[in-house]
Symmetry: C3
Subunit: 351 residues, 3 copies
């Protein structure tokens, strides 16, 4: 049923997006068309990713989800960086962190928890992820914020570059740890009796759908970015609010779709991997890569968020660390994360 709706939306939305973009139809109308089209495309990405995840196991599957969910953010951000919109890029990075950590995980825990009383995920992965969240957000994002207060802009940029390189190196080390040196070391023993599900699509069909959907999302996303200024004016939103909330919701629709589907199927390992893994990829890979890319552009981007952005991220990480620490979820933990997201949403709306 849902799949048919998504197919119809796509059949109408994608041509409309392309034609409307070329013919310069009214901006607010196109904003809505773009958003809906991306959500439908995200549905396809989710199904393709799920098929691939079944083929390749939970770790690689989660990694695939995170990668194809964040490709959109990376592409949008590079365009925004080229346009010198550093504030919007930092806001959308913040929004992706908050969106994944509070909204995606919150919805997964909540909706999964409505069906199942208690859901479990691998507690070793949860602790591994908590350590990295602490490192990336509480250390690597907080230090430049505080140290740069009395630094010259040149030194702030040097510090940002140094931290970016270390973040990327540790991100690669984490991949090596999970996929090479400690592969399967922290897996629960009863994973032998896994029910071998059939993927919806075969490997190559899934890859082709994924590639096409990613390209289409990229095209529509770029068009979407150019509607922001006028939409912000029309609705009285700040660019910060659009970056933190709107970009995050639409840009992470893929993660939303697939994480919630997995949670509803009681596969919390993958749902958590999508939500937190995606946060870590934003913080430890997308953000530092953007800092390094900006060095080749007219305007350099230091890794210095605004204070509200930083506080929102650090308090989210502390909340998630405490909630995910026991490897169990229920609807109320989801509700807590969602409540935190709403509070931050109100805050950024009013700012």
């Amino acid at each position: 049923m849902v799949n048919k709706v998504f197919f119809l939306i796509l059949l109408v939305g994608l041509p409309l997006s392309i034609i409307g973009n070329i013919l310069h139809w009214p901006t607010v109308l196109m904003f809505v068309v773009y958003c809906i089209t991306i959500v439908a495309l995200a549905g396809y990405m989710g199904r393709a990713t799920e098929s691939l995840a079944i083929v390749s196991g939970p770790q690689i599957g989660g990694l695939l989800n995170a990668t194809f969910g964040n490709a959109v953010e990376l592409i949008i951000s590079i365009f925004a960086l080229k346009a010198g919109l550093i504030g919007v890029v930092l806001a959308s990075l913040t929004g992706s962190v908050l969106g994944n950590l509070l909204l995606v995980a919150g919805l997964s825990f909540f909706i999964g928890g409505l069906k199942f009383k208690r859901q479990n995920f691998n507690v070793y992965d949860a602790r591994h992820n908590s350590g990295l969240l602490m490192f990336a957000v509480i250390v690597a994002f907080v230090i430049p914020e505080v140290f740069s207060m009395t630094m010259s802009p040149a030194k702030t940029l040097s510090l940002s570059i140094g931290i970016s390189i270390i973040l990327i190196m540790l991100y690669l080390a984490a991949l090596m740890f999970r996929l090479v040196t400690h592969r399967g070391v922290y897996q629960p023993k009863e994973s032998g009796n896994i029910e071998h599900e059939e993927p919806e699509w075969k490997k190559w069909k899934a890859i082709i759908v994924l590639a096409f959907a990613t390209a289409a999302v990229a095209y529509v996303s770029e068009a979407l970015v150019h509607t922001f200024e006028e939409v912000a004016e029309t609705f009285g939103w700040t660019e910060l609010f659009i970056g933190v909330i709107i970009v995050a919701i639409v840009g992470n629709a893929a993660e939303h779709a697939s994480a919630i589907i997995f949670a509803f199927k009681n596969k919390m390992d993958i749902a958590v991997e999508i939500a937190i893994g995606s946060t870590l990829q934003i913080a430890m890979f997308v953000a530092p890569v953007l800092v390094l890319i900006s060095l080749f552009l007219p305007e350099k981007m230091p890794l210095v968020f605004t204070l509200p952005e930083l506080i929102a991220m650090t308090s989210s990480v502390l909340l998630m660390t405490v909630i995910s620490n026991d490897g169990e979820t229920n609807w109320f933990e989801g509700a807590t994360l969602l409540a935190a997201y709403v509070i931050m949403g109100i805050g950024f709306y009013l700012l």
Copy 2:
């Protein structure tokens, strides 16, 4: 023995409080009379609550304790709000959070730990509570503090109202979670062989004592509030110190009494429920209700604490989260919490 002392204090203290209040006896004398009377009344409240707790089980019992411990704070605060003393209200909310989290829990752990080498409480409840403490203090109190720095007072108030509504909704959701959807889900299995203790008072006698004591505490508390200004002047205390330390100690005497009694009886589940449950009720119910009540009064109260208040609360929550994380206590963990309380007491005294 203790009960007889409390009975004698009450027999003398309550009439003295009423007569002294009407005849305007010297303020500092009356301040002492009021404080002692409240502590004696709190003893009765503790015994009545314990009786009811035995009748109604640990959860509802803990809830009863928290409710009747915080009725005092709520009443004092409404009077102070009517008098426009917003700073005192926020200070006494801070003091209640610190008092419950550090002083009540600290004394319970310490005194219980002098008798028992290791004491246990339900680790699921501890984690549930830690998540809510993080949410209420680290998210819901920190966000308006930081976001309001660059906001107009009107927007700060809007943000405060939004956060207050969310806090109350999540508090109600937490009650539903514990009492309806997940009742007994996180209980240890060996709870079958509970020794069925006899309550000191029958259900209706306990309710009547509780009602009378609550009313008397409210009457004496109101009189107490009006002595603060002169007492502060006489002893060279700031109103902040009175709000944070004196109000909290006297106002939470009920929790002190009953939590320590439960700890001494090795019923740490209830002792922890009183201390942390009471903190949560202050932060997630009393504080937001006061924000909403203030909308109908001449002076509106935003949910913005002073920086020392906020830092004292956030560091207490982090300390408690780490200490309560393992579901075990001993005298040294109690001593650590008490040491933190003394440090903050010195800080607020000197401020």
Copy 3:
């Protein structure tokens, strides 16, 4: 092999240090000589301490390690305090905290993890230590920082004295807890089948070597301090960087040496006890003792760090708390701590 190298270094380095110090050889040359000599002496201290640790069991052994590792810092700091260099003392305290928590523990976890896939340590000790780290750094260091913002210097000093006394009292209480009231209570049960290792040196030989090496380290350290100003000028380093990074690395060489040796022998209990126990001794004993000693000197030292120092310490404590929470280590957790150390090193270098 290593032992022979250390013996040769000592045979050359110690006389050179003494002669060069008396004859005022070039400062930068002497800086290098002093550093290498201290590292070699630290090797001897490590071996002597290990011998004593085998004789006296892990707790006392860890305590000995921490004590003789921090004697150097205490002596350096008293000299610096006498010279009125309060900023350098606070920086070197910060550096010791960061050095032990991130560098010593990080190297232990990393190098131990290269040999062993998963290493375990006593999770009860880890939680006990986490609680104290939270107390010392997040409560006792943060409170004076924030409260002193609006305080007079006299009140800030009063607050510092009060907090220092409480820190020392709780430190002594912690010793009593671990060595008297709860000795062996939290030990794993399988500790019965410990292999009784032979110490390298007998008890008295170890004590004599330890005493001699400590005295020699103290002599060389004092000489080292007087090279800092010129070295800073020559290499373009700030005094802050020297205090935080150089003093910490050289001053903690003893802990480095012995912690890594223990980690490599899969004795993580002792390695962790050295790293975190040493941090706690710095924060809860050395720092407050220095505050109290400064009262008898012309310049009083309040317990108020700079904001970058405080943020570096608090984020390190949060990171370590999350990483050590499960009582398990691996190379990647070590790499994470080391990455955090490098980030802070870059930050202090650029500051």
